[in-house]
């Protein structure tokens, strides 16, 4: 289980994450929803120890990320597409990450074929399309066969086939008893993939519920989301969101 406890983080005058607490449990895909700038990515960076919280903590199986013995074998993360050197091949990028956590080299080819990048494995990753870069990021997250997966906008740039593939993959990984958290602002995608939902706005928790429960509150999951986040969005068009 991943426990977020009273987590706060400010960047200058803005509170990106504000006294946030929730649990991410194994066995079900948890969707992480919120408007742009609501603190989803910051929360993920705080879980991974990339940013240091001002207060509170995030625990993975009772331990902080920095205390994990083999981090990539416990948590696989996709934070941004293109978190790789553009001059390096996909295979070398994954081989370097595998070496850092004592992961067998054979696993590199395994994940490359899982995400469908075998034929592009030797090409410079800087030439990849967004969809291919996203697949490489997913391959990196799967590399250590981790018990927990944190994926920020995993369907970004994927074609319809890729979207269905990642949806089925995440569901099967959760069914194996893993922790799966995916952030997105695509509510329709969440409705198809996630079972549980954590909704935040302005860094604060708005709902920790299930897709079924939230959908039942309103005409649709999308309507329920807008009711929940009204007044909580950091950026919004003048006409309002329902026009």
């Amino acid at each position: 289980m991943i426990e977020i406890r009273d987590l706060s983080k400010r960047y200058g005058p803005t509170a990106a994450v504000d006294a946030l607490s929730f649990d991410i449990r194994p066995g079900a895909v948890t969707g992480f929803l919120g408007p742009n700038g609501s603190g989803k990515s910051t929360t993920m960076r705080l879980i991974l120890g990339l940013d240091t919280p001002d207060s509170g903590q995030a625990l993975i199986g009772g331990r902080r990320y920095r205390e994990l013995r083999w981090p990539l074998r416990e948590v696989g993360a996709l934070l941004e597409a293109r978190a790789f050197h553009p001059g390096r091949s996909a295979r070398s990028h994954l081989a370097a990450l595998a070496a850092s956590n004592g992961i067998a080299r054979s696993r590199v080819d395994e994940v490359l074929s899982m995400v469908g990048l075998e034929s592009a494995a030797h090409r410079r990753a800087g030439k990849f399309s967004l969809g291919m870069a996203q697949r490489l990021g997913i391959a990196a997250a799967l590399l250590g066969n981790p018990r927990a997966l944190l994926l920020d906008e995993p369907v970004n740039g994927l074609d319809p086939e890729g979207i269905r593939w990642i949806r089925d993959l995440l569901k099967s990984l959760a069914a194996e008893g893993r922790i799966v958290l995916i952030s997105s602002h695509l509510i329709s995608e969440m409705a198809l993939t996630a079972e549980r939902l954590v909704v935040i706005g302005r860094g604060r928790l708005l709902a920790d519920t299930t897709v079924a429960e939230l959908s039942a509150r309103s005409a649709s999951l999308e309507d329920a989301f807008f009711e929940l986040t009204s007044g909580e969005a950091e950026y919004r068009t003048l006409q309002g969101r329902t026009s």
Binding site: R45, L50, A83, F84, R88, A96, S100, S172
Partner: protein, 266 residues
Amino acid sequence: MTAIALTRAPRGRYGLAQAAHMEWIKLRSLRSTWWTLAITVAGTIGIGIAVGISTRNAADDLTNNALAGVVPGLLLAGVLGVLTMTSEYSSGMIRATLAAIPRRRLVLAAKAVVFGSVMLGVGELASFISFFAGGATLGHGIAAPTLNQPGVLRAVLLSGASFCLVGLIGVGLGAIIRHSGAAIGVMVGGVYVAATFIGDIARGISVYTPIIIVGNSLSTTKQETCGGSAGNCPHFLSAWAGLGMLCLYAAVALAIGGWLLARRDA
């Protein structure tokens, strides 16, 4: 997908060996690494040969002449050192690296060990080839220096080591500044331009700048006397004191870089 229980992690914990293995794969898998190293070696040797050909005075420090390409060659070593760190930030790779190795000082230590070792090997290669090539191209009946003459082996070895140390200063600066352009600017400006500038206004201090140390302390076989104008000649550091200063600079740059890396958000 196999069951989770089948892939339990091995005992122990990641450490310097794993981090260094990762850094080695990163360094060798970039074509730009090999190009830069090849140009560094070729440029260093080329300048040594050119100076060898144009040497007419047998009383010159012939070893120092053959190693004339070392100071320009160091520029690339320093820039490559900067880039091993800053390219992680410009590409976003740093977050993947730190997620894999959350003990951040270990990441910097691994980079320093791997890059420092590669640069030491490449530097010694460039230094020794320059020495022999520069000696072989001497004309005008001047005999080539040999390694068993006083101070010669020391000058060649320490010149090679300076590639490693200036490279490590670059790695440290890269970790401190994080931005490629700015860090390269500080590297080139601080190590090269400032040395010339300081040399003009305060000769006593200029002997502590890295390129004066390399050019006038590490790569010489005898005390530099500025060709006779002794009254105006600064007191250059001895070879070993110069080596100590360069080690100190590299250690300080890496220590500050490591402290900032551990402290700042990635």
